[in-house]
C-alpha cells in the first residue's frame, strides 16, 4: 500500500464484520516494532477481533495489514507468524496435555517445521540444542523454571499465562500481540508480569502490542496507546494524552468512573 517501510504493524481501513455485527470499523494503526503499545476499550469494543484480523485468525472484510513493511493481508495465520507476529490469547491457549517445557520448546521449534523434509520426523541435533537453550533461558526470564515438568493444563491461570508468554517469547516473533495477559492474575503476579514484559522488550528487543483492562498496568508499561470503542478508533497517542483526553474519559472510563484508579479496579473485576 504505502511505499515507505514502517518497522512494525500498520493497518489501513481494517474492518471486521460478523454477519451484521460491525466489530472493527475501518481502523488505522501504526504500532511500533519496539516498546510497548496498549490497546484499550470497553468490553465488546472489538479489541480481540482487531488482533485476530491482524494475525489472520478472522478474515478482514476490508482493509490491509502490513507487517515490517510487508503486506500480509492475504497471508494465512502461520505465514504471518513467520513474518514476525507472536500471539497470546484472551482465553489461554496452551498445549494442555504437554509439559510446560514442551510448550515453551514448541514455541521455538515451530520455526524449524517444514524447513527440510526430514524436519517433520525429528529435530536435528543442532536444532535440539538451540531449542533447549532458548527454552531454559526464557523459562528463567519468566520465572517458571520450577514448573518445567508440570503438565500445562494442571497449572493455575496465572501460571498458564506466564507459560503462554514464555512460549511466544521462545519463538522468533518480533511483535507480540498479547490479549489481556493479566486477566486472572493476582496483583502480585501482575507486578511480576509487568517487569518481565519490560525486560523482554528491552533485553530481547521485541515489540509488544497489548490489550489490557488494568489501567494501572497500562499506565506503567505502555508508552503509546490506542483506544477502541464500538469498533472505532477514538484515540491514538501517548499514554499521558490518553489519560487527559475528554473523549477517552467519556467513552471508555464512563461518566460515572472518572478517575484512573477506579477504572483500574473495574478492569480487575471484569477480568
Amino acid at each position: 500500500m504505502s511505499s515507505d517501510t514502517f518497522s512494525g504493524l500498520r493497518t489501513r481501513g481494517l474492518t471486521v464484520r460478523y454477519g451484521g455485527v460491525l466489530a472493527v470499523d475501518s481502523v488505522d494503526l501504526d504500532v511500533s516494532g519496539t516498546g510497548i503499545t496498549g490497546l484499550i476499550g470497553p468490553n465488546g469494543a472489538g479489541k480481540t477481533s482487531l488482533f485476530n484480523a491482524c494475525a489472520g485468525l478472522v478474515r478482514a472484510s476490508e482493509g490491509t495489514v502490513e507487517l515490517f513493511g510487508k503486506d500480509v493481508t492475504r497471508q494465512k495465520t502461520h505465514k504471518r507468524a513467520r513474518n514476525g507476529f507472536g500471539r497470546t490469547f484472551q482465553r489461554v491457549e496452551l498445549f494442555k496435555t504437554l509439559t510446560v517445557r514442551d510448550n515453551v520448546e514448541m514455541g521455538h521449534e515451530a520455526a524449524y517445521v517444514w524447513r527440510h523434509p526430514y524436519s517433520l520426523l525429528r529435530a536435528l541435533p543442532s536444532e535440539r540444542r538451540e531449542t533447549r537453550r532458548v527454552a531454559e533461558e526464557v523459562m528463567e526470564l519468566c520465572q517458571i523454571t520450577d514448573l518445567a515438568d508440570r503438565v500445562a493444563g494442571s497449572l493455575s491461570t496465572g501460571e498458564q499465562r506466564m507459560v503462554e508468554l514464555a512460549r511466544v517469547l521462545a519463538g522468533p516473533a518480533r511483535l507480540l500481540l498479547l490479549d489481556e495477559p493479566s486477566s486472572g492474575l493476582t496483583s502480585l503476579e501482575r507486578g511480576r508480569f509487568a517487569e518481565i514484559l519490560l525486560d523482554a522488550t528491552n533485553a530481547l528487543g521485541r515489540g509488544v502490542f497489548v490489550v489490557e483492562h488494568d489501567m494501572d498496568l497500562v499506565a506503567r508499561i505502555c508508552t503509546n496507546v490506542y483506544v477502541l470503542n464500538f469498533g472505532k478508533l477514538i484515540f491514538a497517542g501517548s499514554m499521558k494524552d490518553a489519560l487527559a483526553s475528554e473523549t477517552v474519559q467519556r467513552s471508555y472510563l464512563g461518566e460515572s468512573v472518572p478517575t484512573v484508579d477506579e477504572a483500574a479496579s473495574e478492569g480487575a473485576v471484569n477480568a
Binding site: V21, T97, L98, A110, Y112, A123
Partner: protein
C-alpha cells in the same frame, strides 16, 4: 431418450424414500449435533418389525405400519436422545463411535433375528400400473413420491412456522434461548429425535419391498442418503430432498445405461458415495459447520502417547507369540490373520490416538496394499519388495483421502472416509488393476523364505515390530509433538507459524502406508485374497469401535490396544461356530463401544478441572447477551 423416461420415474420414487431417510437424519443432527450413523440400521430394524407384524403375524398393512412407526419412533427416539445428550460433550471421535456402536449392535440384533440371507419382503402397496406419456407408472411409485413430497413440504413449514420447529433449529447452539421461549430443551430434542428416527423407519419399510429384507443392504441404502444430506449442507431440508431425488435419478439412469455398457456396471452403486465424497472434498472452508462442536470439551479423552514398552511387558508378549504355533495349532491361520490385524490397528491408532482423526476406511487402504502387492509380484517383483511397494502405493491414496482432512474435522472427516471407503469398494475394487470384476479371488503366494504356516506366522510379528518402530518414531518425534499440540490447541500452533493444515495429511499418509502393508500380508496367509475381505461396513467400522474400546485402558498403550482389538475382531470369531453367537459377539462389541463413548465424557468431566484447582475463569465477550455471543459460523476465537 424415451427409453430413459421410466428411469426418471423410478429414480424419483427411490429418491423420495431416500430423501425421507436423509431428512430425518438432518433433522436429528441439527437438533442434537450428533450425526447418527445408526440411522440406516434403525430403518432396517423398522423393516424387520413391519415384516414380523405384517407378513408373519398377518396384521393388515396399515395397522402394521402404524404400530411399527410408533414403536420404532418412540423407542429409538427416546434412546437416541439420551445417548446424544450424554455424548454431547465427548470428543468428535467418540461421538462418531457412539452411533457406530449402536449401528453395529442393531445390525447384529437384526441378523440374529432374520439371519444373514436376504428374505423376500412382500409388497404392501397396490401393484397396479397406469400409463402416462407412454410410461408405465405403478401406483406404488405415486404413493411413495407423494409421501416424500408431503413430508418435505410439511417439515419445512413445521420448521419455519411452529414454535417447536423453531426450537429444534435453535436448540444446539442455544438451549437457553429455547428455554426462554417457553420450551423444555429436553422435550424439543426428544421430539426431534422421534421425528428423525420415524423418518428412518418410514424409509426402511417403504424401500424394503424393492430390495428384500436384508440388514446390510437396507443400512447401506440409508447411507446413500448421507450424500443427499451433504448436498443440503446437513442443514437444509428442501435441498436434502432435492439432492436425494437427483442422486437416485442418476442411479436409475446409469443403471439402465450400464445394462448395455458393461464397463459402467459399478457406476450406479458407487454414485451416491462418490457424490458424498465429492461434496465433502469440494466444499469451501466454512461451508459445512459442525453442529454442536462448541459444546465439545477441549480435553483429549484418548491417551495420546503410548508408554514405552518395558521388558516386563515385552518378554511375556514375545514368549506368547513364539508359543502360539504350538498352543493353537488348529487355528494357526486365524492367529496369523490376528497378527496382521495388529498392524492394521496400529495404523488406525496412529490416526485416532495421535492425530485425533477418525478413519472409517482403513480396510480400503489395506485393499489397495493387497491388490498392489499381488500385481507387483505378478509383474515379477520379489516378494519383500512388493510388500514395501504395497505400503508405498497406499500413501497417495491416503493423501487423497486426507485432502478433506485438511479442512474438515470430526464427523465430516468420518463421513469423507466412510464415503471414500464405500466408493472404492463399489467401484475401484472392481477394476482390473485391483481385484477385477471377476468374482474369483486372486491367488497369492507366500515368500520363499516363509512358505510354511509356522514360518509365515513368525514373519508377521517381525514386520509388525518394524511397523511399531515407525509408529514410535512418529509418536516420539517432532510430528508426534506437533500433532499432540494441534489436538490441544490448533490456533496456538498456527499462531506459532506452523502450517497445521498439512499435519493431518502426513498422519494419513503414514497410516495408509502401514495399512497397505497389512493388506499385502493378509492374502498370502490363506492363499487367496478377494474384495470381500475389505468391506468398509462392517469391518472398518468394527476396527474403530474396537480401538476405542481398548484405548480406554491407559496402561495398555497402542501396542496392547491393537493386540487386544485384533484378537477380539479376528481370532475370537474363529473359535465360534454358531452364526448367532458370532452376531452376539458383534453385538457385544457394539454395546461396549457405546459404553466407551459414554464413559469418555464421564472421565473427561472429572479431568477437565483437576482436583484442588479452581476452574479457570473465562471471560466471554458480550456474555450478558446470549444472541450476540453465538458464533456466526466458524470457530469463536478469543
Amino acid at each position: 431418450m424415451t427409453d430413459y423416461l421410466p428411469m426418471f420415474v423410478s429414480g424419483i420414487a427411490d429418491g423420495s424414500v431416500v430423501a425421507i431417510a436423509a431428512m430425518g437424519l438432518v433433522l436429528s443432527y441439527k437438533a442434537s449435533g450428533i450425526f447418527n450413523f445408526a440411522h440406516g440400521a434403525i430403518g432396517a430394524v423398522a423393516a424387520g418389525v413391519f415384516y414380523q407384524l405384517y407378513h408373519l403375524n398377518g396384521l393388515p398393512a396399515w395397522l402394521a405400519l402404524i404400530i411399527t412407526l410408533v414403536a420404532v419412533g418412540l423407542v429409538f427416539g427416546f434412546l437416541m436422545e439420551r445417548v446424544a445428550y450424554f455424548v454431547a460433550s465427548a470428543s468428535a471421535t467418540m461421538k462418531v463411535v457412539s452411533t457406530i456402536g449402536i449401528m453395529i449392535s442393531l445390525s447384529s440384533l437384526f441378523n440374529i433375528r432374520y439371519g444373514g440371507i436376504t428374505k423376500e419382503f412382500p409388497s404392501f402397496l397396490p401393484q397396479e400400473t397406469f400409463t402416462f406419456l407412454d410410461v408405465n407408472i405403478a401406483y406404488e411409485q405415486v404413493i411413495v413420491i407423494a409421501l416424500g413430497l408431503a413430508l418435505a413440504i410439511g417439515m419445512t413449514i413445521f420448521f419455519r412456522t411452529t414454535l417447536l420447529g423453531r426450537g429444534m433449529r435453535a436448540i444446539v447452539d442455544d438451549p437457553q434461548l429455547v428455554g426462554l421461549i417457553g420450551l423444555n430443551p429436553t422435550t424439543v430434542r426428544r421430539w426431534a429425535w422421534v421425528i428423525g428416527v420415524t423418518f428412518a423407519a418410514i424409509a426402511g419399510v417403504f424401500i424394503a419391498p424393492n430390495i428384500g429384507l436384508d440388514g446390510t443392504t437396507l443400512t447401506l441404502l440409508v447411507v446413500e442418503g448421507f450424500g443427499a444430506a451433504a448436498i443440503g449442507r446437513f442443514s437444509s431440508l428442501p435441498l436434502t430432498y432435492l439432492g436425494a431425488v437427483l442422486i437416485q435419478i442418476g442411479v436409475a439412469v446409469t443403471g439402465k445405461y450400464s445394462a448395455d455398457h458393461p464397463s459402467w456396471q459399478s457406476v450406479p452403486s458407487a454414485l451416491p458415495f462418490a457424490v458424498l465424497f465429492l461434496v465433502l472434498l469440494l466444499s469451501p472452508k466454512g461451508w459445512l459447520v459442525e453442529v454442536g462442536a462448541s459444546l465439545q470439551q477441549r480435553v483429549t479423552t484418548i491417551p495420546n502417547q503410548s508408554r514405552k514398552i518395558g521388558a516386563a511387558k515385552l518378554v511375556p508378549m514375545v514368549a506368547f507369540i513364539i508359543a502360539v504355533p504350538y498352543l493353537f495349532q488348529d487355528h494357526m491361520l486365524a492367529w496369523t490373520k490376528g497378527m496382521v490385524f495388529v498392524i492394521l490397528m496400529l495404523s488406525l491408532s496412529l490416526l485416532v490416538r495421535l492425530s485425533n482423526q477418525v478413519s472409517l476406511c482403513q480396510m480400503t487402504f489395506a485393499a489397495v496394499g493387497a491388490a498392489a502387492s499381488y500385481h507387483l509380484i505378478d509383474h515379477g517383483m520379489p516378494w519383500s519388495v512388493a510388500l514395501l511397494g504395497a505400503g508405498l502405493v497406499a500413501i497417495p491414496i491416503g493423501a487423497f483421502v486426507a485432502i478433506p482432512a485438511v479442512r474438515l474435522s470430526g464427523v465430516y472427516l468420518a463421513l469423507a472416509t466412510l464415503s471414500f471407503g464405500l466408493f472404492m469398494q463399489t467401484f475401484m475394487f472392481e477394476m482390473p488393476f485391483m481385484f477385477g470384476d471377476n468374482p474369483l479371488p486372486l491367488i497369492t503366494s507366500r515368500p520363499s523364505f516363509a512358505e510354511s504356516d509356522k514360518a509365515y506366522f513368525y514373519m508377521i510379528p517381525i514386520v509388525g515390530a518394524l511397523c511399531y518402530g515407525l509408529v514410535r518414531l512418529i509418536e516420539r518425534g517432532r510430528l508426534g509433538q506437533l500433532l499432540r499440540s494441534k489436538a490441544d490447541s490448533p490456533i496456538a500452533l498456527e499462531s506459532l507459524g506452523v502450517n497445521i493444515a498439512l499435519l493431518p495429511l502426513v498422519a494419513f499418509c503414514a497410516a495408509a502406508f502401514l495399512a497397505g502393508i497389512a493388506g499385502a500380508l493378509l492374502g498370502p496367509n490363506i492363499g487367496v485374497v478377494s474384495k470381500g475381505d475389505f468391506h468398509t461396513i462392517p469391518t472398518s467400522l468394527l476396527l474403530v469401535a474396537l480401538l476405542v474400546l481398548n484405548g480406554r485402558e491407559r496402561r495398555i498403550g497402542s501396542l496392547g490396544a491393537s493386540l487386544g482389538a485384533a484378537i477380539g475382531l479376528v481370532v475370537l470369531p474363529e473359535y465360534i461356530t454358531s452364526y448367532d453367537w458370532l452376531q452376539g459377539l458383534n453385538l457385544l462389541f457394539g454395546v461396549l463401544a457405546v459404553e466407551a463413548a459414554l464413559a469418555s465424557t464421564r472421565s473427561s468431566k472429572t479431568k477437565a478441572v483437576p482436583p484442588g484447582e479452581p476452574a479457570p475463569i473465562e471471560t466471554v465477550p458480550g456474555s450478558s447477551d446470549p444472541v450476540a455471543a453465538t458464533p456466526v459460523g466458524g470457530s469463536h476465537v478469543q
